[in-house]
Symmetry: C2
Subunit: 194 residues, 2 copies
């Protein structure tokens, strides 16, 4: 398949997220278009190369109590609370570790101790958007609090033991889980580590 | 926070994905709007309740050779190949097991043997979209082939041993991985199971 890069069109002029129409030639030589959403603007899309920057991080952290840090955050697109991990957009020029420290503190009031591993950029839903995030695993300490949370955010931080994580995952559809958090919660529930 | 459900506006009239503007009141009582992308139409969004249907499945499968099934698929929004798992939209009225069987066969030419576990609906990127998917783990058999793949899809199926998965994950940013596949590949690379 081949993208006609110069034919990409921006369909909307919104502030944070826009729709784009991307012309491409399929494997049989048929010309088609694909609709996608992106946080980037047309210029950034046109200049994109194969090593584009991830937009956000998601932080899987084990507290020094041995528990995993889980956030319950109101998400407007769901009209509901999502159970996941602390996460946030990477500020311009910010390092991954600085971003992880800042978000853990702002969203949960916790202090990052040590990074365990860092994923490459992974793609949230590649049929729909170019959004990519980096998963960071770390250890942390402190008492959870939401006093540092931004005004437009509503976040509660919980510490789940391995037993509690197991129990919560067995709850089936009781909670809405984020897709980056759920598989790592499964791993933590089974093996007690990240 | 509170969504003003009746004030949700559809900004675009595209076929597969649209932008919506969602008015809400934040924790301080300030009225704001949030932009989001969705595969659903305005009517479906307005009628949504807290138990909405997932749109797609992602299939983490262990082949009877002991290898994990990995797909390399061209993704227009990335303008590149994504390494992930077989996946697809759930047809109207289709059961999860039927959908998993169909997608494994269409995308990879493989036959589903036994379902291992099924996740609840998990949310791809809850700051951007209401898209949710279900992760299915299963075993499968057969010889990978792309002869059953749709015309607008370009998919190659690979079988990765635990050693190979470990090696591929250590490759850092060499491949673009899907966010649902990467954490489960990490689990498979470490523990040899799903």
């Amino acid at each position: 398949m081949k993208i006609e890069q110069e034919g990409i069109k921006q369909i909307t002029e919104e502030k944070f997220i826009n729709l784009f129409s991307v012309p491409y030639t399929d494997t049989k030589g048929v010309k088609r278009t694909w609709g996608m959403a992106s946080r980037r603007n047309l210029n950034e899309l046109l200049c994109s190369n194969k090593n584009e920057k991830p937009e956000a991080i998601v932080i899987a952290s084990v507290h020094d109590s041995g528990c995993i840090v889980v956030t319950k955050e109101f998400r407007v697109p769901l009209g509901d609370y999502e159970y996941g991990f602390p996460a946030g957009l990477i500020d311009y020029g910010e390092s991954l570790e600085s971003c992880a420290k800042r978000e853990l503190f702002e969203e949960c009031g916790l202090t990052l101790l040590k990074m365990s591993w860092v994923s490459p950029p992974i793609y949230s839903s590649a049929g729909m958007t170019d959004e990519s995030i980096i998963l960071i695993a770390c250890t942390c300490t402190g008492t959870p609090t939401s006093v540092n949370t931004g005004e437009s955010e509503e976040i509660e931080t919980m510490l789940w033991s391995q037993e509690k994580a197991k129990h919560k995952l067995e709850g089936g559809g009781e909670h809405k889980f984020g897709s980056k958090a759920w598989p790592l919660l499964l791993m933590f529930a089974r093996y007690g580590e990240l």
